[in-house]
């Protein structure tokens, strides 16, 4: 059941195509105002999840609600609060940018001066003013993607669903779109986006969902995902000066390996099922007893890439 803070709730959602299970018992929720990054390898079911969310596909089992409206039964109400950017955005070939936005804006409930003002605002915001009267088929792929984003933002939807919004954009445009996502989220827009560029997800997402083979493996903030398991169980130590006898640390209880990757740097690998905190305490005490001056003592935290690879087993994004 959805609570007030949850805008989108997927509850045991599955999607079956004959013999293929595209989504299997997927459950998670998207909280109001958050930026939810959805990652997974190709074919994991990201786009299927998104298409079910926006009402282009019907789930085979389970329920999905947007602001309490069940999809697809109450999709007309849900669609009023939705902006969507597909992975490959396409427009009818005879439309100009202005005409496409005008029609889509009207269909989203805008009209008259308000529509005109919003088109001008959004095009200006995305740097598309110069191509306003151009036919969309004359624009580059990156520009078309931006026009796609423009139509999604036009009616100020409280929920933005973006399928790979950064794919196909040059670095400057990617930076711009990430800035837009951050800016929108500050203005209370809830954003759900999929991406295979993990650094982009890490940059803008407040929570992350990892999908693999149609299953949601984990949902949480980056810190929560990292805390779910310690990937390397390493402790990185930076010393203020060279310290002799560091190789003796290996004899301490709970220590597996000790390496010196660089002068005044040590990496202590915690053995098997030894406790990370207790072993860390022993290592620190031993170093201090030996008169070593410790500059930093940090359990190695995995990057999103490492977390991701652990969950999806090294499959390509």
């Amino acid at each position: 059941m959805s609570s007030e803070s949850e805008l989108v709730v997927l509850d045991h959602v599955s999607k079956q195509y004959r013999d293929l299970t595209a989504l299997d018992d997927v459950s998670f929720s998207i909280r109001r105002g958050e930026v939810f990054g959805y990652i997974g390898p190709n074919g994991a079911g990201k786009t299927t999840t998104i298409k079910i969310m926006v009402g282009l596909l019907r789930q085979s089992r389970g329920t999905l609600t947007i602001n309490g409206h069940r999809m697809p039964e109450e999709k007309e109400q849900a669609h009023r609060m939705l902006g969507y950017l597909p992975q490959k955005v396409a427009f009818q070939e005879w439309r100009t940018v202005d005409h496409a936005l005008s029609t889509l804006g009207r269909l989203s409930g805008l009209s008259g001066h308000e529509l005109e003002r919003r088109i001008t605002e959004v095009l200006d915001f995305l740097g598309l003013t110069k191509v306003r009267r151009k036919k969309i088929i004359q624009l580059s792929g990156g520009m078309v993607q931006k026009v796609g984003l423009a139509q999604a933002l036009l009616h100020r939807p409280p929920l933005l669903v973006l399928d790979e919004p950064l794919a196909g954009l040059d670095p400057a445009s990617r930076y711009q779109v990430k800035q837009i996502i951050r800016e929108l989220s500050r203005g209370d827009t809830t954003i759900f986006f999929s991406s295979h560029i993990l650094s982009d997800v890490q940059d803008v997402a407040t929570r992350i969902g990892i999908l693999n083979h149609g299953h949601v493996m984990q949902v949480g903030t980056l810190e929560e995902l990292k805390a779910e398991f310690t990937i390397t169980r390493d402790i990185a130590i930076a010393l203020a000066a060279d310290c002799s006898g560091w190789s003796d640390l290996k004899s301490l209880e709970g220590v597996g390996e000790v390496e010196q990757p660089a002068p005044r740097r040590l990496v202590v690998r915690v053995a098997g099922d030894a406790d990370l905190d207790e072993t860390g305490y022993r290592v620190m005490r031993e170093l201090l007893d030996r008169g070593c001056r410790i500059r930093s003592f940090t359990p190695v935290t995995p990057s999103l890439d490492e977390v991701y690879l652990r969950y999806v087993g090294g499959e390509q994004t």
């Binding site: 282009l56 019907r58 109400q77 969507y84 029609t103 009207r106 796609g148």
Partner: protein
């Protein structure tokens, strides 16, 4: 609201398209050539009927191809996604396209038949009554056949996964189905115009209804 907006949009898209340019000029020209050529339609068929068959056969086929190809392309390129995630009624997407194309093609056919009849009256010397009667019958047959062909084009566009298959189905299926409204004239019925219109309207409604039902159920 969505139907009228989409209809005016589609009209704007179609009336300036290359195919429509050809029809705006080509159909009246073909009608003129028919008048000059004056083929013998045979004992059971009036010249007006023959003229209507030829005009509507070409116009109807082109309309059906245009509709089928347009729908298949837009479906495959995912151009409909941006419409379908908005609070609109799905049927208006295909119904507006059908109405826009049909209106364009009907005007082109009307112009074509009228051109021929005016030419016939001015050059060959006919009576206004006879001309009007002939125009009426021709228009009834043409418009009915083209409506059926257009509806078949929409249905084929909705069900066909590729442009090639769509074109083949239009040529071998849509064209045959569109001949249905000709039956009353060919079988020598007493009031062929009324039966032609009724038959054309019924066949169009069935085909378009089926296309809309399938489009509504379609997952994108």
């Amino acid at each position: 609201m969505s139907f009228s907006l989409l209809f005016s949009d589609e009209l704007r898209g179609f009336y300036r398209s290359k195919v429509m340019m050809f029809l705006w000029v080509g159909l009246p020209l073909m009608s003129l050539l028919l008048q000059l050529w004056q083929p013998d339609p045979g004992e059971d068929m009036s010249f007006a009927v023959l003229s209507a068959i030829l005009v509507s056969s070409i116009g109807g086929t082109l309309a059906a191809v245009m509709l089928a190809v347009s729908i298949i392309n837009e479906k495959n390129s995912r151009a409909y996604d941006l419409f379908l995630i908005r609070p609109i009624q799905r049927w208006s997407l295909v119904a507006s396209k059908f109405t826009a194309v049909y209106l364009c093609i009907a005007i082109a056919a009307g112009l074509a038949l009228l051109t021929g009849m005016v030419f016939d009256y001015a050059v060959m010397g006919g009576t206004p009554d006879a001309v009007l009667e002939a125009v009426g019958e021709s228009l009834a047959i043409s418009l009915s056949m083209m409506a059926v062909a257009s509806a078949a084009g929409v249905l084929i566009g909705v069900v066909s996964p590729s442009v090639l298959l769509g074109a083949i189905l239009v040529i071998y299926g849509g064209n045959q189905v569109s001949a249905l409204p000709m039956l009353p004239s060919l079988t020598g019925m007493e009031h062929p115009v009324a039966f032609t219109i009724a038959l054309g309207a019924a066949a169009t409604a069935v085909l378009l209804g089926l296309a809309i039902a399938l489009f509504n159920r379609k997952q994108f």
